[in-house]
Symmetry: C2
Subunit: 378 residues, 2 copies
């Protein structure tokens, strides 16, 4: 993956930076790769570029190969990954490239107001957008319900921000390299109650890519990591029609599928990368994945249970909160992180003794979730 942050590179070249690194890591060239599963969420709106798959394929030397663009809002490249896993598992392909790219900073020519409106395109066009609801508001509503049901506090949310900024300060590819404090977080301006500035992830530019190969070929590659489960579920849209919005049902359904495929339970997982677009989203995700008991997500963060030295480290990379969130690249970046952690190649932010991780990538009004499990090769 590229560093997440601000890039003035065209999307094709930014994607290439990640793809070439993936090729090098796997020891393959574009001629050996059969297809590209490509994620980009907002390029049409941000930079007037669609049909970007063949442009990126051309740039990385794969012109002519089958290329498919996937879009599922913030879950875009996790879904590209899911489709790639299915294509390889079914025997259709043996070696494929999966990745995503996005630019969300003013380098696109869009300022934060415009970008917020663009992001809001992933909410319900008729029932939500006209009310002025944007994504800080969507997750604020979910989080407020969690606070009401379980007594989660703003301090708990601040603890998630402090943890993820601390983690991110160890990750040279993170957008934010600095730590924060509970006091600073609670002092920030309100974005959407209960979220203050430090509860919100940034708009980032970046790309991530992985080479995925069949089980039969895996041992001919250096340091393969097994994909043992990929679940994918959606939920009703708009938000107001969900019976219990704060439980994020799609995440629970997707996690259940993934655990079943892998033949494991949440208790068997060593670490997680979850979709913390807002601190509250991490609280909900940690519970939906079964890593923390329902209602205790905020408390667990405050107690250090989800810190890198806790019993279930969450977002050792810094998460979306500190690593950054180039939408269409985020899901693929989680797969990169799981791969490097399981290999023991995560550098300064390497976790101790981890062999099985789970990634949770969410799109829209908690309406699409993909949960992937990766582990040391059996």
């Amino acid at each position: 993956m590229t560093k997440f942050g601000v890039h003035d590179t065209p999307l094709q070249e930014l994607f290439g930076d990640a793809a070439f690194e993936a090729f090098d890591d796997a020891g393959v060239g574009p001629d050996e790769v059969e297809a590209l599963f490509f994620g980009n969420a907002m390029g049409g709106q941000t930079e007037n570029v669609t049909h970007l798959g063949p442009q990126c394929a051309t740039h990385v030397g794969m012109a002519g190969k089958p290329v498919q663009r996937y879009e599922d809002a913030c879950a875009t490249s996790a879904n590209a990954f899911k489709n790639a896993v299915e294509a390889v598992e079914s025997g259709r392909h043996d070696v494929v490239l999966v990745g995503g790219v996005e630019r969300c900073t003013p380098e696109t020519g869009k300022d934060t107001d415009e970008m917020t409106r663009i992001f809001a395109s992933a909410s319900h066009r008729q029932y939500e957008q006209p009310t002025g609801l944007t994504f800080p508001g969507v997750f604020a509503l979910l989080t407020k319900r969690h606070m009401h049901e379980h007594g989660t506090t703003e301090e708990h949310l601040a603890e998630v921000a402090v943890k993820n900024h601390g983690h991110g300060s160890l990750n040279p590819k993170a957008h934010f390299g600095k730590e924060t404090t509970v006091e600073e977080a609670l002092d920030g301006p309100v974005v959407a109650d209960p979220f203050r500035l430090m509860d919100c992830c940034p708009f980032s530019d970046g790309a991530a890519a992985v080479v995925l190969v069949s089980d039969d070929l895996a041992d001919s590659f250096d340091a393969p990591v097994d994909v043992t489960g990929v679940g994918h579920a959606t939920d009703i849209v708009p938000l107001a029609d969900k019976e219990t919005p704060h439980v994020t049902k799609a995440a629970r359904d997707a996690a259940s599928q993934a655990y079943d495929q892998a033949g494991v339970s949440a208790a068997d997982v060593d670490f997680a990368e979850v979709h913390d677009c807002f601190t509250g989203a991490e609280v909900l995700a940690s519970e939906a994945l079964g890593l923390i008991e329902d209602g205790q997500g905020g408390v667990a963060a405050a107690e250090g249970r989800t810190s890198r030295d806790g019993d279930i480290p969450i977002n050792a990379s810094g998460g979306l909160k500190a690593k950054g969130h180039p939408i269409g690249a985020t899901g693929a970046a989680q797969i990169v992180e799981l791969t490097e952690q399981v290999r023991g190649e995560a550098g300064e932010h390497q976790l101790d003794g981890v062999s099985r991780g789970v990634a949770h990538n969410l799109g829209g009004d908690a309406a699409t979730t993909v949960v992937s499990i990766m582990e040391a090769r059996a």
Copy 2:
């Protein structure tokens, strides 16, 4: 499929109009359908709506099911179809819904100038868009080369328009229900030399959907039609880097894959629906699919060989030219047309004695092409 034309219906409801018709035709309800493979090309840019898959799934009663949005410019829903075929063929799903929806008329709030700029997003962002190249220009360049190489004339192109308008006048779902003449076509204003107004397809609104089931289940449905081949290839972008742009290499590669899968050759095909976004595009496609000898596509149209009573009827539906082109719905609509023709249920525009058809759906600078073969159930 819905009528193609102008619709003031929200995208979810417009998609629903096609999906409910597909459910009724197949005799299934949303509970029996396992997944949605969904195409929409430009909704983010036209109506600020992304992550539309779960919104459409919710509207048709499929909330919670896995839903994926595909985008490949004008080849968007053919690629959704390809992915659905692969998912069913691999045993992952037995019954799925595939479809697409788009609105491109001023009902979106965008006028023709804005829509032309939006469409141009599917060309190369750095090398083509800044030159002012839009899609009439892209296909004009390809067609000019064909004229140079093979002596194709503006009269030949006009004959394609006359044929497809004639065909469309028999199709009550076509955007344009009126015939035209060679004189009228050659009298129209120039859009991009050699194309005049009647050489260009319209911006349309519309939706199309099909229910796709496994081979094992097919005989429990009324009037199933077999999908025997689906090819998918891309080509280098930008246009200027293609060695021989007018041969549309992606189409030839995709057709070759599809024919191989089906175990047939072009000579075994009874009729075709091809991507005639411009008259010249039909000429190129008829040759790339092997239906007409190279260089003779225009002559064949002028001689009536590709008319509904010719030896290889092309675009009996009216094609994009007369039926209309709601981008993300076009590929799925071709599949609907092939199904109805093979079943003998195409009404006034039914062809005589056809049992095998080929569909050709193209995206971007001739950079993505999906070719599908459907035939009477063996």
